[in-house]
Every structure is written in structure tokens, then in C-alpha cells.
């Protein structure tokens, strides 16, 4: 099972991001990884949270344009070439990374979130190549 990432449309204006994080905090939703893609006047905030389903319904109930997207996370050892190893495998199999962002993992590891289409194929390819892809069932990121 893949990780459900929650993407939220945000206007680029003062205080707007804080309004959203307040909403999540009040609803006891824990953010485990976050990335902001921005254009001049708008941004898309991408979140990995403890309860994606509830997060999505809370956001929609509060008039945010939000959606869930399938992504996967890879835990990487803290050493040179670790990220490259993953990208090389994806590249060799003709899989394109649409975007990715990092989060901290346990001691001596990092966690990188990948958006690759098709996600099933990417996960399978990586696992065949001995790369540890985190399961969406278990808490994906510590």
C-alpha cells in the first residue's frame, strides 16, 4: 500500500500557511513531512500526515482545495551516493521523478518522498534492486 500524500492549494499571501497549520493542529493531525511548491501567486503544499483520510476531510470541510496523491518513501543511509543509487535505478527503468522532497529519518538515515508515475512499477523496481521502500501501512516516517 502506498503512502497518501495530501496536496493543498494555497494562495501566496501573508498568514495563509499558518491558518492551515493551525487547522491541522487543532484537529490533532501530525505532519511528518512537508514540501511547498510555489509559483508567483500560488503554492501547492504537499503533506505526509499521520491520518491522510481525516486530514483531507478536515481541509475540504474548511474550503481548501485539496487532494490525495499516491507517493512512496525511501529510507536512505546517510552517506554519499545514497540518493543517486535510487535515481539511477528509476532512470534505468525509464521512470521519471515528477518531484521529491526529503524528511529526516531515524539516526543516520534520511527519508525521501518520491512522486513517480506509475507508482506501483517504481516501488516494484526499487524493491527488486534491494532498495528499502517504506510501507504506507506502518507509520512511514518516524
Amino acid at each position: 500500500m502506498h503512502i497518501q500524500q495530501i496536496s493543498v492549494f494555497l494562495e501566496n499571501r501573508k498568514g495563509r500557511l499558518a491558518e492551515m497549520t493551525q487547522l491541522l493542529a487543532e484537529n490533532k493531525i501530525n505532519i511528518r513531512a512537508v514540501s511547498l511548491a510555489d509559483m508567483a501567486d500560488l503554492g501547492v503544499l504537499r503533506l505526509i500526515v499521520n491520518d491522510p483520510k481525516r486530514c483531507l476531510s478536515v481541509l475540504k470541510a474548511n474550503d481548501f482545495a485539496a487532494q490525495a496523491t499516491d507517493v512512496f518513501a525511501v529510507e536512505l543511509p546517510d552517506r554519499p551516493g545514497a540518493l543517486h543509487n535510487v535515481l539511477e535505478v528509476l532512470n534505468a527503468n525509464g521512470l521519471n521523478v515528477e518531484y521529491m522532497y526529503a524528511s529526516v529519518g531515524k539516526v543516520d538515515t534520511g527519508v525521501v518522498i518520491f512522486k513517480v508515475d506509475p507508482v506501483d512499477e517504481a516501488v516494484a523496481v526499487l524493491r527488486r534492486n534491494g532498495i528499502s521502500v517504506l510501507s504506507g501501512d506502518a507509520a512511514p516516517i518516524p
Binding site: E11, D41, A66
Partner: protein, 443 residues
């Protein structure tokens, strides 16, 4: 109407004689022309006949100008409903020219002119230009677009009739406009005010100081402008900036014009009978009261207009103008009663923008149009709410959406608009209805 008044610095021009007609004679002329125009409209145009029959009023009932208020109004919708030639009183073989302006539903408003109509049009343009101080010997640059828009050809033929040297640059290509203005020694120009200010800025960028050129007369119209813009223009040039008013449905530019006093617009009321009516009730208002401007054409052959509601809001100026003209003046048009707005000389309806947005998205978008003025050039921003349905995690998709919406608007309106995506429910609503237009342009 003393000779010394007529002989202002520029001298009296015979074309302007009717501007100085004593009021009783003018009223008499208006009544006779009104009667014959009304008779013709009734006999030749089914819609007018039907409307008047419904009201039980016949052309012969118009015994004085006070009876005008018994006649039915004509609306822009009537031109749309009878598209293209339904309000023509002349057979097409007598129509020598067609013009058109943008309408709300994609179909334009079409107007026709007989040879006599074109001559009348030229004569009122001559009177407008003379009132602004233009004379034979002037070199006149016409930056209005030549084509279906009445501005270009209207100004062109009027200028030729006056006998000035016409430089028919038409719209666009600002650098060439500046080069020709300088090289030809242009002394008079017609433009939309916003385009002229754009031209001013461009001239400064390319190192041309308009103060050093012989340009002395500016005629600006086709969009609302303000005293602030006049000051802006006049402080950066040596020209006097004059307001020219007109509308396609009545004849085009040349319905009213400022004289060199720059104190309200003289209405060429021997051809266009003006009324100011109450916005809601349509009842005529006392002189000096503000209301909606209504025109009846008194001499138009191809397409007579009976009590056409302009949706422009103004009032008559009751005092006599220092220039000596006896024809009535009105205050410059500052606002309109309907939702149409004018951007860079182009008529735009929110519904057109809505149609363009709908063509892209396929769902009813929530949008708001914000008009601003950046360095005196009108800017249009269309804010569109991103619905959960169209929201996409990919930034590229949102960029594409923004670009597509921008193109759709540009294709529909012919002007560029900045599209800005906003969050659901970000736009103001009052009682469930979105405010479609926020005009922040007042100077």
C-alpha cells in the same frame, strides 16, 4: 454669439455655425427633424412601429419636444435581437458602410450608414475637431483602429473633411507611432487616453521628448478618463487634452466634444437629441440633475435610434459656455449604469469573460475582475477560484490552466488579462452573488 466670441485665438470656422444657433431656432430645428425621423422610423422599422402601437402613440402625436417622453425607449438588447440589420430603415443598397462593436453574447452590435449619414458623421467630427482647436494645416495622427470599430474611419473621414493632413497610423506599433509623430511633425492626435499615456512612456524610453515636438491638440475618447489623466498628459506634453464622446449605436465618435474651454462636452444636439432620465423610472429629469443619458437621432437615415438608453450617467451643464456655443453641454461620463466596462477602449462585459473561462474549464467558475491602472494604462486581472474539481497536485497543470484561461480571455476580448488562481471561496460574495467587477481605476 458675438464676433469677438467666435473669433477666439483660432478663429471661427464656418462648419461650426450650428453650434451657435440661438436656442429657440435650435429647438424648432430639433422638433422638425424629430418629427420626420420618427415618421420614417415608424414606417420603415417594424420594432419601432410595434412598440409605438403598443403604447398607442403615433408619429403625429409628437407636437412638441415635451411629447418625446411618450415614446418608447430602445435598448442595446434590441440591436442584438434584431441582428444584423433588423433596425435598418434603409434598404441595404443605400447603405454604404457597416460598423460593429462588441456585444455581450459574441454577436456584435451592427450599425449602418447611408452616404448622407457618413456626411453627417463627418460634419460632427469636423465640429468636434474645430471645437478642440484643430484647423487646416494641422498634421493629424489617427491612432484609432481602422476597421469595424467606428473610431478609426470616423475620425479619418472627419479629419479629411476638415482638411487637415491625416496620418492614418491606426492602432498599435508604438515605436513607429512615435517615429512618425516626430518625423512628420504631427500637431494633433486622436487616441484612447490610456494608449496615449502608454505612448508617452514609450517615447521617454526611446529618448523622444514630446514637449519638444509641435504636438498641440490631443483628442481622447472611447473610454472613460479623468481630470487626473488630463493633468498627467498635459504636464508631460505641450498639448491640450480634449474629451470626445460618442457611441456606435448613435453614430460613433462625434456625438459630443469638449471645446478649448475644457469644461464639459458640447452635444451636437441638432443631430442627436439628448435627454437625462431617471435610472429606474425612465422619467425625464430636470436640467442639471444626474441620470442616464438617452439619445434620439434626428437625421440618421440608415438606422434611426429612438430614445436609445446609453447607460452612461451624467448631467446637463445649465450655464452657457464661455466659448459662446449655444448647444448644450454635459459633464464628462464618469460611470455607467450597467455592468459593461471599457478597458483600453474595448467594451468588455463580465459575461464575455465568464464565457471564455467556461470554454476552458467546463465548469461554472467563480471569478472576479479587478481593474487597476498601472502608470495610467488599464490593467485587467481575472481572479478565478480553484475548485477541488480542477485542483491538481502538479504545479505544471496549474500553470497550464492559468495560461489557457489567459489565452481564452485574450481571444475573446482582444486584450490581455492577468489570470490569478485563488482559493475556493476567496472571492467576495454578497447574498450568495459574487461581485464580478472591482474597478480601482479612479484617479
Amino acid at each position: 454669439m458675438t464676433d469677438d466670441v467666435r473669433d477666439s485665438a483660432k478663429g471661427f470656422h464656418p462648419a461650426s455655425a450650428l453650434d451657435f444657433l440661438p436656442a429657440p431656432q435650435l429647438r424648432d430645428l430639433q422638433l422638425r427633424r424629430f418629427q420626420s425621423s420618427l415618421r420614417r422610423a415608424y414606417d420603415c422599422v417594424a420594432l419601432y412601429r410595434k412598440r409605438m402601437d403598443e403604447r398607442g402613440v403615433k408619429p403625429e402625436d409628437l407636437k412638441s419636444l415635451e411629447d418625446v417622453s411618450r415614446l418608447p425607449f430602445t435598448e442595446k438588447a434590441d440591436l442584438r435581437d434584431t441582428y444584423p440589420f433588423g433596425l435598418f430603415a434603409s434598404p441595404l443598397r443605400e447603405v454604404v458602410r457597416l460598423h460593429a462593436s462588441s456585444g455581450t453574447t459574441g454577436k456584435p452590435i451592427v450599425v449602418g450608414y447611408t452616404r448622407e449619414d457618413v456626411a453627417v458623421w463627418s460634419s460632427v467630427i469636423v465640429r468636434s475637431f474645430v471645437a478642440c482647436g484643430m484647423r487646416p494645416g494641422d498634421i493629424f495622427q489617427n491612432t484609432h483602429g481602422y476597421g469595424l470599430f467606428t473610431g478609426g474611419l470616423g475620425a479619418h473621414y472627419g479629419a479629411e473633411a476638415l482638411g487637415v493632413t491625416v496620418v492614418p497610423t491606426s492602432a498599435g506599433n508604438t515605436d513607429r507611432q512615435i517615429m512618425l509623430m516626430k518625423d512628420f511633425g504631427v500637431t494633433a492626435i486622436i487616441s484612447t487616453p490610456s494608449y496615449f499615456i502608454h505612448l508617452l512612456e514609450r517615447a521617454a524610453e526611446v529618448g523622444v521628448d514630446l514637449k519638444e515636438l509641435p504636438l498641440r491638440t490631443g483628442i481622447f475618447g472611447s473610454e472613460p478618463w479623468t481630470e487626473g489623466m488630463r493633468r498627467h498628459i498635459e504636464s508631460r506634453t505641450r498639448l491640450k487634452a480634449h474629451d470626445l464622446y460618442g457611441l456606435t449605436e448613435i453614430i460613433g465618435p462625434g456625438v459630443a466634444a469638449e471645446c478649448t474651454q475644457q469644461s464639459g462636452l458640447h452635444i451636437f444636439e441638432d443631430h442627436f437629441y439628448p435627454e437625462i432620465v431617471d435610472l429606474k423610472t425612465g422619467e425625464p429629469l430636470a436640467d442639471g440633475a444626474e441620470g442616464e443619458l438617452v439619445f434620439t437621432t434626428l437625421s440618421k437615415r440608415a438606422m434611426p435610434m429612438i430614445r436609445y438608453r446609453t447607460h452612461d450617467i451624467t448631467s446637463f451643464i445649465t450655464e452657457r459656455c464661455a466659448c459662446g456655443r449655444t448647444i448644450r453641454r454635459m459633464h464628462r461620463i464618469g460611470r455607467r449604469s450597467d455592468d459593461m466596462f471599457i478597458v483600453r477602449g474595448v467594451n468588455v462585459y463580465p459575461s464575455q469573460i465568464e464565457a471564455a473561462l467556461l470554454a476552458v474549464e467546463g465548469t461554472v467558475p467563480h471569478y472576479q475582475i479587478i481593474l487597476t491602472r498601472d502608470k495610467a494604462l488599464d490593467q485587467v486581472e481575472v481572479q478565478v477560484e480553484v475548485t477541488p474539481e480542477v485542483f491538481n497536485d502538479r504545479i505544471g497543470t496549474l500553470e497550464d490552466l492559468q495560461a489557457k484561461l489567459g489565452h481564452a480571455i485574450a481571444n475573446t476580448l482582444g486584450i490581455r488579462a492577468k489570470v490569478r488562481l485563488v482559493e475556493p471561496h476567496a472571492l467576495q460574495r454578497s447574498e450568495g452573488k459574487a461581485r464580478r467587477l472591482i474597478d480601482k481605476r479612479s484617479a
